[in-house]
Amino acid sequence: MTLEFALVVQAFVAAAVDAAGTVPVASVVGDFVEFLSPSNLAGVLVDGLAKAAVFALIAVGLTLIFGLMGVLNFAHGSFTIVGAYVAGLAMVLVASSGDGIVTRIALFFVAVVVAFAAVAALGGAIETKLIRPLYDRPPLYQILLTFGLTLVIDEVVRMVVDFYGLQPRSAWQEALGTRPDWFRENHEFLGLTFEGMDLFEIFLGVVVIGAVWLFLTRTRYGLFIRAGSEDAEMAEALGVDVRRVFTVVFGIGAGLTGVAGALLMWDPGWGASVTVGAEALLPAFVVVIVGGLGTFKGTVVAALVVGLADATMTWWFQNVLVTMSWLPEVVVFAILVGVLIVKPRGLYGVQEVGGH
């Protein structure tokens, strides 16, 4: 845990140094005091946790898949948008304007289940039909294949969306419109103000990541997955049908990002749109690599690091260093580069990863 702290501190120092060049020192101190005020810190914290929740939801599937079968799934971003559209479609079809917040949230969870199931089925089919023949080849081919699938899936989604005229604007407003009003409003707790959507994202992130963690640690199938990730051959020799576990994990991993997609559909910062695929994929890659490919714990920690750093930088560059408001976008990749320089295998990475 010390290292990521060091990194965050490093980022702060860098920011401070940058700031010193452009703004008078006294004002920086003032800004820093402002930043440290409880309301600000809490706001940044919640913002960061919400971002972390989204990153973690997308990245966890990626890391599960890599941990078990050593496949870096480039199509993960495309799975996310399939989830976003499927959930959006479900919401648009079922929700009516009169529904209250409770009904809407309940319906949303139905949509989450639908998105999970649909994307998991897609993932499972892709694993058995397309990726399985490639396990004997160098890992590059699996990367290439999933990269190609991204083009195909994105374009199919575009065709469907075009054909049904779903998307007049860049983000699908109708789907976004099924979001309860409470989510777009600010709410006060204990004298601090939070946006509803942030809280919901944190809630869903905790629930889903917690559920995955319980599945992995408390169920028999989860045990097989963890055993297979460490030594697939040994697990096979103990009677675990590792090939089937591969399919299941690919399905679950894809399904989880489908859930993330459902959440993104309601987040105006993302929205249901084809371009979200690449936008979601990149931070997810960063999170997975920073955490150490294939480690669940590393991924969750890295999501927190990246999410919080992103939120912190966003605050600084939006409130103080307005001339460099673009810098937060760099932070994500700067963390990637920084961690890889210090720890070439990521925060929790081990020497050898991959199941076979």
């Binding site: 699938l149 083009l151 195909v152 575009r158 580069v337």
Partner: protein
């Protein structure tokens, strides 16, 4: 052996051939070329190509390249010829309306302007293959170098770079930017080459995305950096050729390229009686760009090809094949990788410079974004990873599919062709669910070329893992140029088609395609 191999830049090694010949497997017939079976012209050619002189070897090994270059040299004329209805008025062989045939060729043949894009991006894809395909280190952030070249050209033209005024000759700018990219590659490589595999790919991706965000947001670049930046203070086209020598410089550009009217008037030269060979060549801006951009791309390719075959290039291949052993036999692989990365970045930046010089604008999305490197990867895999020329053909293939399947501007493609060919009646016919044929066609073809490119790509990964050129190589048993050379030699010498294995392979050692 009698020849010395320094006399000519021989592509097929004389010594390897010497070894094979000394190996005693060469049939005696090879020494005495027989002309009987080839006729007079064939006999002369056979004598020229069949021998063991440095020239003959060079000619043999360069045949494949020469053929490709020849096709490229005449392509604008071929394109003009086949897409002109007048052509089919005078060719009675084809039935049907001349317009129909011309339109069909418009739909099928890539436009000349498209070919320009294939040249510069093909060079970029080749530079990506140079590092990724030959050392095995996937440079997923290669777009950074393309972007440095592209942004460099535009920024210099806009007078944003100190010491390089907006009137700096294009050739100088592009060279400076290539060197800058090479330096950048060394800096990034110092860190990145401590990693391997996925981690290397990701850290280079990280670096390039940082550049992407920087250039997409930095207002130094231009007024609206996210949308990109265009040439503002350099109204004339960029010139390719010899700097400061007007006569040897030609402007390139989509709209403002030089046009060349070249008339060969024999009478003026005092050869009245040769009037029948008077020709007039009229090249528009696009055609001039085609030749000039093509020239730089071909030179860049040739240079990389040369490096691949040098002792240095062989070490790159050794690293790809088995880095541990390469180190164990005494190579400082870290340095070799750094140098190779720098060279690759150098050519990548030249490609980016050509791109910006031709388009006269650049945006973060089309130069620095990671999917630009993804496109290079696509081209490399389709064309053949680790074949250098393959990625160029891969890009041609990719863009041809894309053009054929999308309704773009003045060009052809399947959609307009179908619309014209099927006619209004068919297009408005309703099919299942009240959807007309036209709507159906539109849904599947209009602007969805990426789908088909993706499908083709997936099929390549699954079933043609060596790519186009790689597969041909496997079929031929060696590099295309090398095998072509071997076949010519066998033909010239009238040897049996099966030939002597050792000779063929020795020739094959020489060359990539």
């Amino acid at each position: 052996m009698p020849d010395d191999d320094d006399a000519k830049p021989t592509e097929s090694g004389s010594s390897s051939e010497a070894v094979a010949t000394d190996g005693g497997e060469t049939p005696p017939a090879e020494r005495a070329p027989s002309t009987t079976s080839h006729g007079l012209l064939g006999g002369t050619l056979a004598n020229l190509l069949g021998g063991d002189s440095a020239f003959a070897r060079y000619a043999r090994s360069s045949t494949a390249h020469a053929v490709v270059l020849a096709v490229l040299a005449v392509y604008p004329f071929v394109h003009a010829f086949f897409t002109n209805p007048a052509t089919f008025n005078v060719v009675p062989v084809l039935s049907g309306a001349p317009e129909y045939w011309a339109e069909t060729f418009v739909a099928v043949l890539p436009r000349v302007e498209t070919m320009v894009a294939i040249f510069y991006f093909g060079l970029f894809a080749a530079s990506f293959d140079f590092i990724s395909g030959y050392t095995g280190y996937l440079s997923f952030g290669h777009a950074a170098f393309y972007g440095v070249g592209a942004y460099g050209v535009i920024l210099v033209a806009n007078g944003k770079i100190p010491l390089l005024g907006s009137q700096t000759p294009f050739m100088v700018t592009i060279l400076v930017m290539a060197i800058a990219a090479a330096v950048l590659a060394v800096l990034l490589g110092l860190v990145s080459f401590r990693l391997s595999g996925v981690y290397f790919a990701m850290i280079t991706l990280g670096f390039s995305q940082i550049l992407y965000v920087l250039f997409a947001s930095w207002d130094f670049v231009g007024e609206n950096p996210r949308d990109g930046v265009a040439v503002l203070s350099h109204p004339e086209g960029f010139e390719i050729g010899v700097p400061f020598v007007d006569a040897l410089n030609l402007q390139i550009g989509q709209l403002q390229g030089d046009s060349v009217l070249y008339g060969l008037d024999m009478a003026k030269l005092g050869f009245d009686f040769l009037g029948f060979i008077d020709v007039t060549v009229d090249l528009g801006g696009t055609e001039v760009s085609y030749y000039m951009v093509g020239l730089v791309a071909v030179l860049g390719y040739a240079a990389m090809q040369r490096i691949i075959h040098s002792p240095f290039g062989r070490v790159m291949i050794a690293i790809r094949e088995n880095e541990e052993r390469a180190r164990a036999i005494g190579y400082d692989v870290y340095k070799v990788k750094l140098a190779a990365f720098a060279m690759s970045a150098f050519f990548g930046a030249i490609a980016g410079g050509l791109f910006a010089g031709f388009r006269r604008s650049v945006s973060p999305e089309n130069s620095l974004y990671f999917l630009v490197a993804g496109d290079a990867l696509l081209a490399a895999v389709i064309g053949g990873f680790g074949t250098l020329a393959g990625p160029i053909f891969g890009r041609l293939f990719h863009i041809s599919i894309e053009e054929f399947l999308s309704k773009s501007g003045s060009g052809g493609g399947l959609l307009p062709w179908l619309e014209r060919t099927l006619g209004e009646g068919t297009m408005t016919t309703e099919t299942v669910g009240g959807v007309t044929v036209g709507e159906g066609v539109d849904t599947f073809l209009n602007g969805h070329a990426e789908l088909y490119v993706g499908l083709v790509f997936v099929l390549f990964v699954l079933y043609v893992p060596n790519g186009l050129l790689g597969t041909i190589r496997v079929r031929m048993g060696g590099t295309v140029a090398g095998q072509t050379a071997a076949r010519i030699k066998r033909w010239a010498n009238g040897a049996a088609p099966t030939g002597s294995k050792s000779t063929g392979s020795a020739d094959a050692e020489g060359d990539d395609d």
